[in-house]
């Protein structure tokens, strides 16, 4: 802690900037991505449970049927759609498209609207898994 390097000023971070719409979207892309990272690891665990047979799968099924797990899975669906649509926006930027300030706000709004719509539709379709009987 008393090392001279520790006393050096750091470049300003998030807290010095006024929060804007596009900034929140950018942060959400990362957070949703991290949530999906956890899901990708859970997917591997779920596949192993299936491969190990009905008893192991039943244990996984009981864990996934609990209310907190169902809320997590519903959240994963939202994260999937948001990260997908926001990912298209990032790929467009990689191609050099849509950098204008007004355009970034418009494309951001579109991403949120599409993610919300797709989430609601698939949550309805998944209701029998998430809300129904285990």
């Amino acid at each position: 802690m008393d090392h001279p390097a520790a006393a050096r000023p750091l470049s300003p971070h998030l807290q010095v900037y006024r929060l804007t719409f596009t900034m929140v979207l950018s942060g959400l892309h990362r957070i949703m991505g991290l949530a999906l990272s956890v899901c990708s690891l859970l997917l591997a665990g779920w596949l192993v449970a299936v491969a190990r047979g009905p008893e192991a799968y039943a244990v996984a099924g009981r864990l996934l049927a609990s209310l907190p797990a169902r809320l997590v899975l519903a959240g994963a669906l939202v994260a999937f759609w948001y990260h997908l649509f926001a990912g298209f926006r990032h790929l467009a930027w990689d191609a050099g498209l849509g950098f204008e300030k007004a355009m970034t706000r418009k494309s951001g709004g579109l991403v949120v609207a599409l993610a919300a719509l797709a989430s609601i539709l698939t949550l309805v379709a998944a209701w029998r898994f998430l809300g129904g009987s285990s």
């Binding site: 990362r30 991505g33 991290l34 999906l36 990272s37 990708s40 690891l41 997917l43 591997a44 665990g45 596949l47 192993v48 299936v50 491969a51 190990r52 047979g53 009905p54 799968y57 039943a58 099924g61 669906l77 999937f80 997908l84 990912g87 990032h90 790929l91 990689d94 698939t122 379709a125 998944a126 029998r128 898994f129």
Partner: protein, 124 residues
């Protein structure tokens, strides 16, 4: 960093361009694969053992499922790396990165083992 070009010579670091490129390749691959996975899952009659194991036992479904799991894990590992580089203190950065990469690698091997077992007769 070792292996850098002499100062003042701005040559792209091949390691970081590879990271950037692989992140984009896996992102594009995950668009059809992710949508396929979600809709395949939603169109199962139920999530019981019989339905799920019968689904994965079909060779094409198993191949797509493994491809999806691998792309998702690879994309995940690349993304997590960037977050670690941004937020984890330097002192423990490398260790954290190696740990999470090992976790992703183990998950990729486990997924291959599981899908292979189900597709190649485990369910038959």
């Amino acid at each position: 960093m070792s292996g850098r070009e002499p100062r003042g010579n701005l040559v792209p670091d091949p390691h970081s361009t590879r990271h950037w490129r692989n992140q984009r390749i896996t992102a594009i691959a995950l668009v059809p694969l992710g949508l396929w996975f979600l809709f395949a899952l939603l169109s199962l009659p139920d999530l019981g053992y019989a339905s799920v194991s019968a689904w994965i036992a079909k060779p094409w479904q198993a191949a797509l499922l493994l491809l999806f799991a691998w792309c998702a894990l690879w994309h995940s590992s690349l993304g997590v790396q960037v977050v670690i580089e941004d937020y984890v203190p330097r002192r423990v950065q490398t260790r954290t990165l190696r740990l999470l990469q090992a976790l992703h690698g183990a998950a990729a091997i486990a997924a291959a083992y599981a899908v292979g077992l189900l597709a190649l007769g485990g369910a038959g």
